[in-house]
């Protein structure tokens, strides 16, 4: 690695420069089109889950807010996109924007509650709000279809050209494109002055007011942004699979996304993408086993990650790399 530049401005600039490994990573996301044409449906699921995990990373990995109810915004986005296609039109991009705005609105309102709490109460509040929304959606049968699922979504061709096909080619290309654009925004955000403040909140919540920072305002803002991103992820799943079911809002989805992010490594942007890929590929490979045994392995994995790999797979890899470089 080159020695850090003496000029502090150039040094900070160098931190946000694109690395060759990153470019290679994004090129590799195109490989499924040629290597695994039969698995594009799964690739689409991974892209959506990666986006969802990325949205959680902003609040959990960067601002240190543990949320057990993040599926609320995923679900709001999914139902909004569904309703939008049913009652407005089937154009996908306006549907995405509508979903993002609606999820952002939910996020903004709940952020006033969330920003007041820390620790267990915060976990309970996010869990409670998530469960509240889940049972509300279950009761609001006339909007959501309740436990029967939401029916009647039909999407137009993407950009008027590409129909959502049976093999998931369009779906994966579309979701991957959206993931990449949102990723660019998230990358920009964490390298911004605001991103630095978020890391400050994560590192030392007590010190922030002593340097004049209004942590709650920062938290409200990042929570809203994160909700909008989760809403986009939900909208993608609604548009590409053309159904929405109640489990878009479920506790399992909230828990799964935390597992994915922690498995990959929180607070490092790519953690959620890596974690989502491993989690969903593993689940696909072990789809034969009963769900309760699937969760056995998730449990074992969580215990191992906490005990042996506290920064997730990417954290472990970068520690290994640092050790290797020092030799």
């Amino acid at each position: 690695m080159a020695p850090p530049p003496a000029n502090p401005q150039a040094y900070l600039q160098s931190l946000s420069r694109w690395r060759p490994l990153e470019i290679a990573f994004w090129l590799a996301t195109l490989l499924p089109f040629w290597l695994f044409p039969n698995y594009l449906g799964l690739a689409n699921q991974i892209a959506v889950a990666a986006l969802f995990a990325l949205s959680l990373d902003l609040i959990l990995g960067y601002a240190g807010i543990v949320s057990l109810g993040h599926a609320a915004f995923f679900g709001v986005g999914a139902y909004t996109a569904g309703l939008f296609s049913k009652f407005v039109w089937g154009e996908v991009f306006t549907g995405l924007i509508a979903a993002a705005l609606m999820a952002a609105l939910f996020g903004y309102v709940s952020s006033f509650i969330v920003a007041r709490f820390r620790h267990l109460t915060l976990i309970m509040i996010t869990l409670g709000l998530g469960l509240l929304l889940h049972s509300a959606a279950n009761s609001a049968h006339f909007i959501t279809g309740g436990s029967d699922g939401f029916q009647g979504i039909s999407m137009w061709k993407v950009a008027g050209l590409f129909r959502f096909d049976l093999y998931g080619q369009t779906a994966y290309a579309y979701s991957l494109g959206v993931l990449f654009i949102v990723f660019l925004c998230a990358r920009r955000l964490i390298n911004s002055p605001f991103g630095l403040s978020l890391r400050g909140i994560r590192e030392n919540w007590v010190r922030m007011p002593a340097i004049g920072a209004d942590s709650r305002a920062h938290i409200r803002k990042v929570y809203t942004i994160s909700a909008a991103m989760a809403g986009i992820a939900g909208a993608l799943i609604a548009q590409t699979t053309q159904t929405v079911s109640l489990d878009a809002l479920s506790f399992e989805r909230s828990a799964d996304v935390v597992v994915m992010l922690v498995l990959g490594g929180a607070g490092r942007l790519y953690g959620g993408i890596v974690g989502a890929s491993i989690f969903l590929i593993a689940r696909d490979q072990f789809s034969g086993i009963a769900p309760q045994y699937w969760y056995f392995w998730i449990g074992v994995l969580l215990v191992m990650v906490v005990m042996l790999l506290p920064n997730g797979i990417l954290g472990g890899l970068s520690a290994l790399l640092a050790k290797w470089r020092r030799k």
């Binding site: 946000s16 920009r188 920072a213 920062h218």
Partner: protein, 259 residues
């Protein structure tokens, strides 16, 4: 260094009036009235448990008082949040390091500078475009002899350097009044002088209040000394007056328990 300006017209930089706080039966601050003139170097001394840190917590808003007022440059700030007080120019450091373990000093001080300059809400621009803020942060680090470790993770810095970073973070808020809670706590005695040299070199229009146990340091750097005992001001005066006060001596030798 900036030149001292003539804002003495506003009277005192920081005052407290009848500041009191208790936890149930335990009184930790009893009717405290203080006036710190602009540019003063005050030392706050007293036996363990006298309520010195509590007083700083009350002044900075980390602990609400039961009674009394706090005035900053004549303005009543008693009802303001801690961060609003910082924005008005009242900064503090912590006795036990309260740093950002995984940020480096440059990032940590830039963070504080960005918060003060109001650019921290900007989530759409790269931090590196804020040339002035970054240079200001780097300048503070160089002044505090932290320039050579600006890119090292805070957690890996030697302890003495971390103590200096505590002060650097407070300075980044451009305080008018700076409250230092044992700036050299835990630093070997031969190094604590270095930290106070840095403190002494701060600009003359900055008003200082520091807690310190080492009497040599107190008499060397303070222009005025406040003795706190049992949550109340026992006495205050110039170093010479305090040195000559037999009551203070007794308090420190432990013969008297309460003032």
């Amino acid at each position: 260094m900036s030149v001292a300006d003539t804002n003495a017209s506003s009277g005192f930089a920081l005052s407290t009036r009848g500041l009191s706080r208790s936890f149930g039966q335990l009184v930790v601050a009893r009717d405290i009235n203080l006036n710190l003139p602009v540019g003063a170097r005050y030392a706050l001394i007293g036996p363990n448990g006298a309520g010195k840190t509590t007083l700083i917590n009350l002044m900075t808003g980390m602990l609400p008082p039961n009674h009394g007022q706090i005035l900053l440059g004549g303005e009543d700030i008693t009802a303001l949040t801690p961060q609003a007080r910082v924005k008005r120019g009242l900064a503090r450091t912590f006795q036990i390091n309260s740093l950002f373990a995984h940020l480096n000093p440059l990032e940590a001080v830039t963070l504080a500078v960005c918060e003060r300059r109001g650019i921290s809400p900007k989530f759409w621009q790269n931090i590196a475009v804020n040339k002035e803020a970054i240079e200001e942060a780097y300048d503070i680090l160089t002044r505090l002899k932290l320039g050579d470790v600006a890119y090292q993770t805070t957690r890996e810095l030697p302890y003495g350097r971390q103590r200096l970073l505590e002060i650097a973070l407070a300075l980044a808020t451009k305080p008018k009044v700076l409250l230092l809670d044992e700036p050299a706590a835990g630093v070997p005695q031969e190094e604590s002088g270095d930290i106070f040299e840095v403190v002494a070199s701060l600009s003359n229009d900055l008003t200082l209040l520091f807690i310190e146990h080492d009497m040599h340091v107190v008499f060397r750097f303070a222009t005025h000394i406040i003795v706190l005992v049992g949550g109340a001001v026992f006495t205050e005066g110039s170093p010479a007056e305090i040195a000559a006060d037999p009551g203070v001596r007794e308090v420190y030798l432990g013969k008297r328990h309460h003032g």
